[in-house]
């Protein structure tokens, strides 16, 4: 459904990737693995429709994103969610953070009304907020301030914030690289739940074990492009590309 075709993107003096093609279907987890600095974040931002490629096409359900009208592009962009390595929560209570995506999708009149209601303490967050917090196991923290959370909890809230508006595609950029094993397990579990809801999940990670644990398919990003994409087991057991094999076996050191 979300499809990159022969996409190229350069940054500064050199290309980040060239001629890259990748498809993300609903209800699957795709892991993007590769060494640091190879362009995983750029790839995810391209998939998030927030970065226009220099060349090639990006399409969501067959609609070309970057030739579409501005209003249509916004509608397409709003079907995608992204979580960064850092939680980047807003300075507000947890529930208001999680509700953000829902809130900005409402008409201005409704938003204003909800704002007034929250000023007098009458605002009740939508059910989706509680559901999303349930997925990451933080329902009881809904009324706490975001800055009172631990790093792991903040990242889980950040995940819930991207999940709450039920995106079709969810992009996770190194979501657990700063987290302890327990919080990592919660996030990985939440990825599986998102997949079960029919969301296409893309996770960029430098942790190959995590890719093995969570992904249905793996894309290996080396130097200036994807060297290989395939089912997780095959990529790890029997990679067909020589450089992929060297990277996975640890021979290719960056």
């Amino acid at each position: 459904m979300l499809r990159l075709r022969n996409v190229s993107r350069s940054y500064g003096d050199g290309p980040v990737f060239r001629d890259l093609s990748l498809t993300v279907d609903s209800g699957e987890v795709v892991a993007v693995i590769g060494p640091s600095g190879v362009g995983k974040t750029t790839l995810l931002r391209t998939l998030a429709l927030s970065l226009e490629p220099d060349d090639g096409a990006v399409a969501l359900d067959g609609t070309d994103v970057w030739t579409a009208e501005e209003s249509e592009r916004l509608a397409l962009r709003r079907r995608v969610g992204m979580v960064f390595q850092e939680a980047s929560l807003f300075d507000a209570p947890v529930a208001r953070n999680v509700e953000y995506g829902l809130r900005i999708r409402r008409p201005w009149a409704d938003r204003l009304q909800a704002q007034l209601r929250s000023l007098v303490g009458l605002h009740e967050p939508a059910d989706a907020v509680g559901d999303a917090l349930d997925v990451v196991g933080l329902s009881e923290k809904a009324t706490q301030r975001a800055d009172s959370l631990s790093g792991g909890e903040a990242q889980r809230v950040s995940f819930a914030r991207a999940l709450a508006y039920d995106p079709d595609v969810l992009l996770l950029d190194e979501p657990t690289s700063d987290l302890d094993p327990r919080n990592t397990a919660v996030i990985e579990d939440a990825m599986a739940k998102a997949r079960d809801r029919g969301i296409g999940v893309v996770v960029a990670t430098h942790d190959m074990h995590q890719a093995e644990r969570v992904a249905d398919r793996v894309a290996v990003l080396l130097d200036d492009g994807v060297t290989e994409v395939g089912p997780t087991e095959r990529i790890f057991e029997d990679p067909s590309d020589e450089r992929t094999r060297k990277f996975i076996s640890g021979e290719l050191v960056y």
């Binding site: 927030s50 995608v80 960064f84 980047s88 807003f90 507000a92 209570p93 999708r105 508006y165 992009l171």
Partner: protein
């Protein structure tokens, strides 16, 4: 006129039966607690009229200045354009611009020969608001801009990838910068209400024949009283000015705290 000098006249005006009740009317514990204020040569309404003019001029100027400054700070915080650094240094220079010179320039502008001469604004509150506006705008713009620029880029990115439009992202940034912006407005208000030079030049420190302030502010009144050797009066007015500034600060900080503990 001192209140005590009025008191002996009251029975004549009101008739003798009141005389017996007069100490009760004036007296009691309240009057005993306020001898300092009652002894001072304040006419009825004099102090209040000065406070009113001070607040009216400063609050109006700061409100207008805020409406003018915040959009500029938002645009400068969100866009890159040629000459941005120059614009920033102009604003920063404006923060230290001598207020008497601002007063002089506004006086030229509103004088009969000036471009706004037809509006007949010399020695009016409106002219004072104009000069206060010019003085309050640079600090409000500069401090707001610093607060807006200081908002984490990750937070802007988050608002955008969650589906925010440019307006949504700007609103998020304004909300994240709210304490800095409150500080900016306070700084502007502090500069406006404690300013003497320009309001003296464009306002003229005028009271009406009834002693009620037309363009006299707390600052210019203090300056006048001190020059006339009325140090006690000047001190009282100074205390009122300090109390006023503290009150406004406390209200703004309280509002900010509600934002934190909501």
């Amino acid at each position: 006129m001192p209140l005590e000098s009025v008191a002996p006249l009251l029975p004549i005006v009101l008739g003798s039966p009141v005389t017996a009740d007069l100490p009760a009317l004036l007296g009691g514990p309240v009057a005993a607690d306020l001898p300092a204020l009652l002894d001072l040569p304040f006419r009825d309404g004099y102090v209040w009229s000065i406070i009113y003019v001070s607040l009216y001029v400063s609050l109006t100027a700061v409100a207008l200045s805020t409406l003018f400054s915040i959009p500029i700070a938002v645009v400068m915080g969100f866009t890159d354009f040629p000459g941005k650094q120059f614009a920033k240094s102009v604003i920063n220079t404006g923060m230290g611009f001598p207020s008497v010179v601002v007063g002089l320039l506004v006086l030229f502008a509103v004088s009969n020969q000036g471009p706004l001469g037809a509006l007949d604004l010399v020695f009016t509150k409106q002219a004072m608001i104009m000069s206060q506006f010019v003085l309050a705008t640079p600090p409000i713009t500069a401090i707001s801009l610093a607060a807006i620029s200081g908002v984490d880029q990750n937070v802007r990115d988050a608002a955008r990838v969650l589906g925010g439009t440019r307006v949504d992202v700007a609103l998020v940034v304004l909300k994240e910068a709210r304490y800095g912006i409150a500080t900016a407005i306070l700084a502007g208000f502090g500069r406006a209400i404690s300013e003497v030079g320009s309001v003296l030049i464009v306002g003229g420190n005028i009271t009406g024949a009834d002693g009620i302030s037309k363009t006299r502010t707390l600052t210019t009144a203090i300056q006048l009283e001190a020059r006339q050797g009325q140090y006690e009066t000047a001190m009282i007015l100074g205390a009122v000015l300090v109390a006023l500034v503290l009150t406004v600060n406390a209200v703004v900080i309280r509002l900010g705290d509600q934002g934190v503990h909501r």
